[in-house]
Symmetry: C2
Subunit: 332 residues, 2 copies
């Protein structure tokens, strides 16, 4: 416990993110001040949104500054504390950054119980991706029993939860994922009704086959051609949840707009953007309900655990290549 | 009253519609059968949607078949009747087509009172465009007093009504239109707060200037670059009403998708398509309320009246060139 390894943002990436966009530095372990505590990170979260945080210009949060530690969610253990409400030995989750140790004043930090679920689950199904799936699907997508729900990035951290919640709510669920292994995972292990392998299938034909009544809810994590294709298969009054667009985040060309958006008109459909932070005051409710589903075996969760803080850039790349199945985390 | 002039669809247009896409024929005036009546058209409606009806493939209504009379809304007078509920001398509005005379069984036909408003108004502000503006703005856009409402095609049949209703509801209203004369019309005569001349101004800069708090409701009649630009200026939780996309209807290239659609995510905004027919059972309510506004001078209406059935193709072209101010109709 003498050095703190950190990945700092060195330059704004152009196109696909790469190791040279970061600086890997070793510094002293910081000392928590009054009202602060020191966390030793155990697992670091890899999220598609991180690519956006590296860009210039404000989005829904300010960008990471050049020379700053790369922002990341993480779960860890408190090893020193001068904070009245956080004690040494407690486990916490927060935006602790890509580093071994972080100092925090407790703002935006949540205590977790490692006996209820393994630590990485608090970065996935019981963390931001799970919250995103829960509120995005239920509050924005508003599925009704019997609806056909399509989700892209189906084997990813958000997608795997979206599809399972939709099944719990009595929907027919069709995933879209890249590769046979992912498709097998969501159908055989998670119980989706079908999964379309966009790398090896004609997505439009497959949607027609698996969604003969059209798509009532589309939860979009990917954007690009897949969004455009799903637009051609909407049912009347369909709801599209715009959660992300991972296919577009490393573009050097402008984002591809959905050229079939007039299908919204013909089908009286809507496309609505969401950011999970808007439901922060209801996370507890979602964790309780999803925790119950997990305990009852109705909700399954998978984490893809890479190892070694030093491998952060390559691990982040795996996310954008779509290599992971389930929530991708890095064991420090 | 011996011949019935008709424009029939001869071929499906490629790109901009042209006279050669129609056949102008003279036939006998048809005889109404039992339960039918004969209407003599007085004014024919020119609507952007007509371009879509000329294309192959089902949209929200089936296409006009090759060799069929071109579909069009029209207002006229009953000159013969074998229908118990429609009498000779009554004025009616319906989809009577681009011709002098039409036979109808009364389905989808509405009686109108020419003493309450001039006949062309029943094709505009008290007709489909007015209904579209009323329900699209109020039911889909859901403006609140104090909101900033932007409407494109501001000097058109729908846009002129959208902006005035938004003003009545206490909103700040910014139009987008092509040319100084249209902009002068909507600001000086209709009372919009501002109008952006997209042909001579930088729309993005002008939106920033006129909508310093961002756009709460955008009523889109045009699509294309203007939709994409408005997307960059949304306020949080903005609502975009997709009513039409006249800039795209004569494209030979694919429709331009809105490449800034991820602004929906950042701003938790929505984009919703509408088709006015869904509110058919509430038209009466809208006509009563708008009729009241017209009588009180709170709602103004303008019609652009071209003359001569034989000039139908050129008049339709004027619509797509954006030549008209107010509702474009053709006096038979």
């Amino acid at each position: 416990m003498s050095t703190n390894r950190q990945f700092k943002l060195k330059q704004r990436p152009v196109g696909m993110v790469k190791r040279e966009d970061f600086e890997f530095v070793c510094g002293p372990v910081p000392e928590p001040g009054d009202g602060e505590f020191l966390v030793r990170n155990a697992y670091i979260s890899l999220d598609p949104a991180m690519r956006g945080w590296m860009n210039e210009g404000k989005s829904y949060v300010p960008p990471v500054g050049i020379g700053e530690v790369m922002r990341a969610g993480a779960v860890g253990k408190i090893v020193r504390s001068n904070h009245p409400k956080f004690a040494v030995g407690e486990h916490v989750v927060g935006l602790f950054g890509v580093q071994d140790y972080a100092v925090s004043n407790g703002k935006g930090v949540t205590k977790i119980d490692p006996k209820l679920a393994p630590l990485p689950v608090y970065l996935g199904t019981l963390g931001m991706p799970g919250m995103t799936a829960y509120f995005g699907l239920l509050e924005v997508g508003k599925p009704k029993a019997g609806d056909t729900v399509v989700v892209s990035g189906a084997a990813g951290a958000v997608g795997q939860v979206v599809g399972q919640i939709a099944k719990i709510k009595g929907c027919r669920v069709v995933g879209i994922a890249g590769g046979a292994e992912k498709c097998r995972y969501v159908v055989d292990e998670l119980g989706f009704d079908a999964c379309i392998d966009y790398k090896n299938e004609d997505v439009r034909k497959a949607l027609k086959q698996h969604c003969p009544q059209g798509v009532n809810v589309y939860f979009d994590n990917v954007g690009g051609d897949i969004l455009d294709t799903v637009l051609t298969q909407l049912a009347m009054r369909a709801r599209i949840v715009i959660c992300g667009a991972i296919s577009q985040y490393n573009n050097t060309a402008p984002v591809k707009g959905p050229s079939n958006y007039l299908s919204l008109l013909v089908n009286r459909a809507s496309m609505t953007g969401m950011v999970v932070f808007d439901w922060a005051d209801r996370y507890g409710e979602a964790v309780r309900e999803m925790g119950g589903w997990l305990a009852a075996g109705r909700l399954k969760t998978r984490e893809d655990i890479a190892e070694g803080l030093e491998n952060f850039p390559e691990t982040l790349l795996r996310l954008f290549k779509g290599d992971n199945i389930g929530k991708l985390v890095l064991k420090v």
